[in-house]
Amino acid sequence: MAARTLTILVLMLCGWCLCYPAHGQVKISGYITGKQQAAIPGTSVVLQGTAQGATTDSTGHFRFTTLQKGRQVLSISSIGYKTTEKPVVLVNDSITVNVTLHKDHKTLGEVVISAGAFEASDKAKGASLTPIDAVTVAGNGGDLANALRSLPGAQQVGEREGLFVRGGTGEETKQFVDGTWLKNPNFSSVPGVIQPARINPFLFKGILFSTGGYSAQYGQAMSSALILESIDLPDESSASLHIFPVNVGAGLQQLAKNKKSSYGINVDYGHLSLYNDIVPQRPDYFLGPEYGRGQANYRVKTGKTGMLKIYAAATFSNIGLRQPDIDSSHLKNSFRLRNRNLYANVSYRSMLGEDWQLRLASAYSYNQDDISLDLLNSGNEPLQLPGEVFDGKQRHTRTQTNFAQGRMVLSRLFPRNQALHLGAEHFYTADRYRSHDSLYPLTNQLTAAFAEGDIYLAAGLMVRAGLRFEHSSLLGRSTIAPRASLAYRFRDGGQLNLAYGMFYQQPENEYLFRQRDMDFSRADHYIVNYTKKAGNRLLRLEAYYKKYHRLPKYYPAISNAGSGDARGVELFWRDKKSIPQLDYWVTYTYLHTQRDYGNYPYALQPSFSTPHTVSLVVKRFFQDINLNLNMAYTFATGRPYYDIRLAGGDGKPQVHDQGTTRSYHNVNLSGAYLFSLFKKWKHKDFSGIGFGVNNIFGTRQVYGYRYSHDGLHKAAMLPPATRSYYIGIFMSFGTDRTEDFLNDNL
């Protein structure tokens, strides 16, 4: 037996070495190219099972010699391309092998649908935005939407919260958390004073700010969608604390030992009276402003791929302020708001087998605003005055909104980032608006279904096509909205994007309370975009045209007789490389828009829009002194303002006066000095002193003008104070969340 084995072994070895020296070496040469016949240097070409091979030179050529004979396989591999195997038969002195490699889209330069969108993800590479980049923009007050105003497409509207995108009103931007609509992202509005966000911006690992042409998975936003994805489990347990003169808070985040679940609680409370005593405010506050917030979350991994997340927040604000009345110098207007809000969101996602993914989400929110408007005499005593002029200035209203949403999306995933999404959602909204003794109830059931596919057409070419159906029980109408987006990636890494879509939205309640027989408004978007990212720099150019149909109007009767359009060009440039340790971005927004809506008599440039906006955001960390500085400068040309009143008999609105405000300049600076107080502790702390000044140079900023009833007087709408400041301390134990704290309190 052993002898036989040995014989076979010897024979095999003989056969092997017989051919070895017999015919000398075989030369293998050739060149390796990509799709368009461009050489791929640095490609490894190797004879499988041997150490023999070569690497291509700068012209894509290679050459090596081997002693191997017969049927062999050449393995050709290069980073960014799929490894290719090429069978060869080695007989003669030399052979030539030319091979074309195909790009491997998994490893390098995937084409990504991106027209109209700014994505800030925790997976962002190079100069792409991360959620932290977005929320560290100086002077945003911990409000994500506010921070995103430093991106092109958004207008600088200092007197109101929200995003005014591409000629759209603030109501035309909607925020979504894990697929569900976040109905009241900010504390309820106070005239002329921007209100803070309800939700902590650090809950999110992914932020997609679409300024148009967004996916069919979302609806009811004619201009823009802010799509937020909440974080899964935290990396570690942690505890935190912050003390600012205007706000104090504490939090705890506990990760289970098995790292399968976590829970967290955060509370914070703010009262601005002390601050307002030190920094005089234009409005005369007699209540608060005070804000309270409690948040809780629970997250658990279920099974291999499942993730269940529950988030709940209860918030309140109390604000009362007095301002001089525009119609009479002896009078004052008093505004008092009590806001109560409850929000809960439950989401679940899991893979169903290899290729299917299920996402479920539901949200509930309750919001109550009690608003009292009163007339006061110069001694701040309330008084009752008759007459049309004062009618709207003496009013007690209560608005209660119950909102619930359920959503399901089933996705089939395919290779190369392809996917088919099928989904349905239902929104229930019940509004109860009480003014004096009248009750205006409004209940709506909105049902939506959508289908969308991300399809890989050819190398570097991807298309997304979708359809969205919606039916509103209140309007008794249905819509079908097609959406499409296309992306083509050039060989140099640049990408060309196109998008088109129809976006429907219900008229706001202010119309519907008085007129039910209305239709959806619609905006059509056409977008072309070029983006290039390389070397920690990012360039993005976008041009668009947007057409509004059936905008709501008050006159002659409440109807959908309005219309409008917007066109513009936007530029975004970010550079993290040119100046060491300095990160900056520059944006330019050009907007030309006109709309005939609301009380406008005909198409006008809306008062929240301006043709030119430029912003510069700079961030730098001074390592040696542990100091972090952020600066943001914004310039915007003036905004138009109008005195629109009903003309005598026929009740037609007329523009009695109009003008343009002075241009807007704003420089915000914020920073933090970081340190550690308890270095010896097992979980050492990450602490810091955060500080900031908004409008450092004290430039006069005018948002618009209000007119008296007779149009004889006009008063400028100004910020509550010329400058605003903050300073405070924050501490975190466990995980290093200094960055987060910093930003949360800016």
Binding site: V10, L13, C14, W16, C17, Y20, P41, G42, T43, S44, V46, Q48, G49, T50, A51, Q52, G53, T55, S58, S77, I79, G80, T107, L108, D122, K123, A124, K125, G126, A127, S128, T130, I132, D133, D235, G493, K533, A534, G535, N536, K576, K577, F621, Q623, D624, N626, L674, F675, S676, D736, E739
Partner: protein, 213 residues
Amino acid sequence: MLFTALLFMILAVQAQDTQLENAVALLDKAQTVKDYQDLSARFTQAGNAQQTNWLPYYYAALCNAKIGFLLQDDGERIEPFSNEGESNAKQARELLRAGGNKKDLAELYTVMSMIYRTRVFINPMTYGRKYGPTSQQYLDKALELDPDNPRALYVQAWVKYYTPKMWGGDKDKAKTLLESALQKLAAQKAGGVEPHWGKTESEALLAKTGSKQ
């Protein structure tokens, strides 16, 4: 006949060794991304051919780590090299598991630490939190296994030099570490296939600590 066969087998193995030695000699002179890319391909080939020696994979991983360091300011391009380097390193560890000694393992962990460091470069703000600690863990392991490893000392110096003070950076400490790394390097053989890199790197960084930017 049998003798001839055996002779050729020995020759073939020797050829592989020479090839590795040649590649390592080239690595000592490599400077550009392209140099390292070529070498990474060569080392991977050598590793695939031998299937038993951890060194070719170790060097392939090192090449990819080096590329990551060279591309430090180009976050968009780093990831494929980090991925490739990670898989090289894992292959090397598989081979080391069988008969690896502490010193070899320390060499490999040092390179793994560098690979995870390259992940941080993709976008320090977000990847730093996750991969910074992973990178440090491998470096700590390496220094635990072989506290005198000059390459581990060099990487530790690099970290100390570039980390902000707040997070434990210390330029003076970096200097001490580099001096000790160079001392240890001087005592080692500067050629052959065993890991011996680190002199140029340490000297370059030492020059920076001296100039006190």
